[in-house]
Symmetry: C2
Subunit: 481 residues, 2 copies
């Protein structure tokens, strides 16, 4: 356990979050949840007025090592929840469907606190867990915690578009930081902050960095540990709060090995029958910003969306107690605690699985994504001549038309890419210089030839049904790989 407490970062709070007071109603509910206390005026319906009498669900057995395409026949465990609590089962529908304190379930939060302590090992002692409705909800709450209209927010050069849609209408502005396949460049971040007063005289220096460190959407980049350390120190130097939006953290996968370099006997995945141990996964993950955070300046957003299903609408903050308390104040009067069905299902599920079951599930999931990443990259290798990228191009590989792999003019490549080391996205960068359609469009005087070309490509792919190859890491249909 880290011994140092978080430092005081209250000067980062915006006017709105500084002005919030505890909800008078939630105060009543808090007292009411203490043993022996009862509701005075909370407007809590009696559980006999809930029409549901019990709930059962089936989840994969915690011993299952999930591998692609075998999950539907995997052994299951039955979990059920009755209407009322019993001495050996305190959770019940009467609890799940009642108003609760806005922190959500104490036992679910305690499970997650211990899991974070074991797997992420935050570098300060007084971190807290606060449940939220998923990382979209969480990021909105962070923006409303820290940002004033007109603020500049540090973001990745290709930031997650949906995250931008939160702060842009508030009148905030993004400061894009250059990035490559390994995420943002620390020196670019340092330069922007170091030259701020000079370049943007009279404006407030940005004090919030929004970052998706693992399998970033859309670029697929994953930050290395070295870069994380450098970025963290720059944020200490310039007093920047880091919002680490990390839904793909447990979907980190081993480096891609091109088919020609691969041992035909070997596999990147553990041999069949090899048991997953706690350390198999946890020790191969790049530590998080929270793991480096000796000051408590990181707000980590984690979610079950990518690992248990987005419809759970359940995730959690890891952050310092001051931010956690202010986020709770906002939660009380906006979303309230996450849905009771989700909370109780995930709580029962995780209590059954324990840490080991959860880690084993994550391990199985990442194997699925590794298989898909390999399948997709192998497809590109088989359809194109692929060469490693010369210096000066950020991506690892360039793809040339079949039979042109030995050409000396690297400008003739069709697209470049890097094999992702996590998440769900493979980012393909088209080389417009080599594209005749682009030159035709440009010569015709079109104002935005890139956009027209993009539409043309998508439409052709849709018509030829070849679009499927662009979505092999994830999908919403049952039939798609």
């Amino acid at each position: 356990m880290a011994s140092k407490s978080s430092i005081n970062l209250s000067h980062h709070l915006n006017t709105l979050s500084r002005s919030r007071v505890p909800s008078p109603l939630k105060d009543i509910i808090k007292y009411m949840n203490e043993p022996g206390m009862i509701s005075l005026a909370g407007g809590l319906p009696h559980p006999s007025a809930f029409p549901y009498s019990s709930l059962q669900f089936q989840v994969y057995s915690p011993e299952v090592d999930v591998v692609l395409e075998s999950t539907d026949s995997a052994p299951l465990v039955d979990i059920s929840l009755g209407k009322y609590s019993s001495p050996d089962h305190t959770n019940s529908l009467s609890v799940a469907l009642q108003y609760g304190v806005s922190t959500g379930s104490k036992s679910l939060s305690a499970f997650l606190y211990d899991f974070v302590k074991r797997v992420l090992q935050p570098a300060y002692s007084d971190y807290e867990i606060l449940l939220h409705f998923g990382n979209t909800d969480a990021w909105n709450k962070v923006v409303n915690l820290l940002c004033e209209p007109g603020d500049y927010i540090l973001v990745e050069e290709y930031t997650y578009p949906s995250a931008q849609a939160v702060w842009a209408p508030m009148g905030c502005r993004g400061v894009p930081i250059s990035m490559d396949k390994d995420g943002i460049l620390p020196e670019a971040l340092g330069r922007v902050l170091g030259e701020w007063e000079q370049v943007h005289p009279g404006t407030k220096r940005p004090h919030l960095l929004y970052i998706v460190p693992t399998g970033q959407n859309p670029t697929g980049s994953t930050l290395s540990f070295e870069r994380k350390k450098e970025i963290y120190e720059i944020c200490v130097k310039y007093d920047v709060v880091i919002c680490e939006d990390d839904p793909y953290y447990f979907l980190q996968i081993p480096d891609y090995v091109p088919p020609s370099d691969r041992n035909p006997e070997g596999s990147l995945l553990p041999a069949e029958g090899e048991r997953v141990t706690d350390d198999n996964l946890a020790n191969t993950l790049v530590p998080t910003f929270v793991s480096l955070d000796y000051q408590g300046r990181v707000i980590r957003l984690d979610t079950f969306s990518k690992t248990m299903g987005p419809g759970n609408r359940l995730g959690y903050f890891v952050c310092n107690p001051l931010f956690s308390e202010r986020l709770l104040r906002a939660t009380e009067v906006t979303t309230q605690a996450p849905g009771g069905w989700s909370q109780s299902i995930i709580e029962e599920h995780l209590t059954t699985w324990k840490h080991e079951g959860l880690l084993r599930w994550f391990y199985g999931l990442r194997n699925i994504y590794a298989t898909r990443r390999d399948w997709l990259c192998d497809m590109i290798f088989s359809a194109f001549d692929v060469r490693t990228s010369p210096n000066g191009i950020a991506d690892d590989y360039i793809a040339l038309p079949k039979g042109h792999g030995s050409e000396r003019d690297a400008e003739k490549y069709i697209f470049s890419f890097s094999a992702p080391r996590g998440g769900m996205f493979l980012w393909i960068r088209l080389n417009l210089k080599s594209n005749p359609s682009y030159h035709t469009l440009k010569a015709s005087g079109e104002a935005y030839p890139e956009g027209l070309l993009e539409t043309k490509i998508w439409m052709e792919m849709i018509q030829e049904k070849e679009i499927f190859i662009f979505a092999p890491l994830c999908s919403t249909t049952d039939t798609c790989l």
Copy 2:
């Protein structure tokens, strides 16, 4: 069906909501949900990566007439949801736990649209339904849709404290409108708006009225149809948007009849065995503001919290298409759609129950609350001498110490109250003039004798366990009435 469309109220939108653009991600998901379209870059996990394989729950049979204390032995119906859709059951966990469009389930929304059309009969034609996470979430979204910092908001004199906790930190200010047991006084509202420029020169006239029309928390007041009509016309005249926060709408109960006036043979509730018909309930409810709303200036907040359990975190807006579209834009980048477990459970449940089952459930619930209201009021009648209230006091009854009911000095009463006609709250107004402890505290020079007296009363009641009589309409414990 009303034939008139809503009028254009876009000038009510605040800068934030006017600035919102559709989420680029949700646009992809929308296309993806069309037949034949697939995900391009939505980050949607494959359903084989959801660990849950099926769900079952038990809900009261739709034929059950719920009456107090008999619900736990009522007949049940089993509902289950498989992992994948089948031709005869399109809903599934693969759908429920996936990302969806932020509108939420189309079929649940369609059910609610039809239910609203049948029971509330909005007075304009193009109203829409949008799912939300419960009325706290919904009110927060309305404030962020319409209010600028510094705005004045029209509220009931004793407004719901938790609602105030949303706008107060934003720098908005409440304009309390006088009220009695029948809700706010239309003439008071008209006066405030009519004299606005004179009384508050140089400030923007309020353009939003927040109101809890049924069983208001904390006063227990319910607006009459006559008052609603007057209030609506005043809002038309002064161009005010009405936010109707109506969680207790279906918990309207018949007028209280004091024990001495009651037919000892009769009961306020339908005789045992009497079947509930559709019209029993719907035709005895005071029409809503939406039912009067020929312009589309009402945003109605409805929720399943008080009727199915607060933990569902599910409710819906009824409002004009312009407001609905802007609320959807905000939903996309904040909460996203309500939780998948809640949506699919409520959808399956309502599909099984149909309109009739739902109306019968509401009818049974209101009977429970009527019984409780009667029990509580009867307790007061038996413990005190109760007289109808003389003119000039807003409440219906005054309670005097036993044996003092014939005293001519009405100032000697201990407290006054009105029997609520809906909801969960009975508001008791202490008569401090007659309270010796209050006079002692005041004479001692205490700055806030009311607060000290309040604490003293609560503490004494907690110690004597008599506090139970203050929470008979609702509770969080299984044992409490």
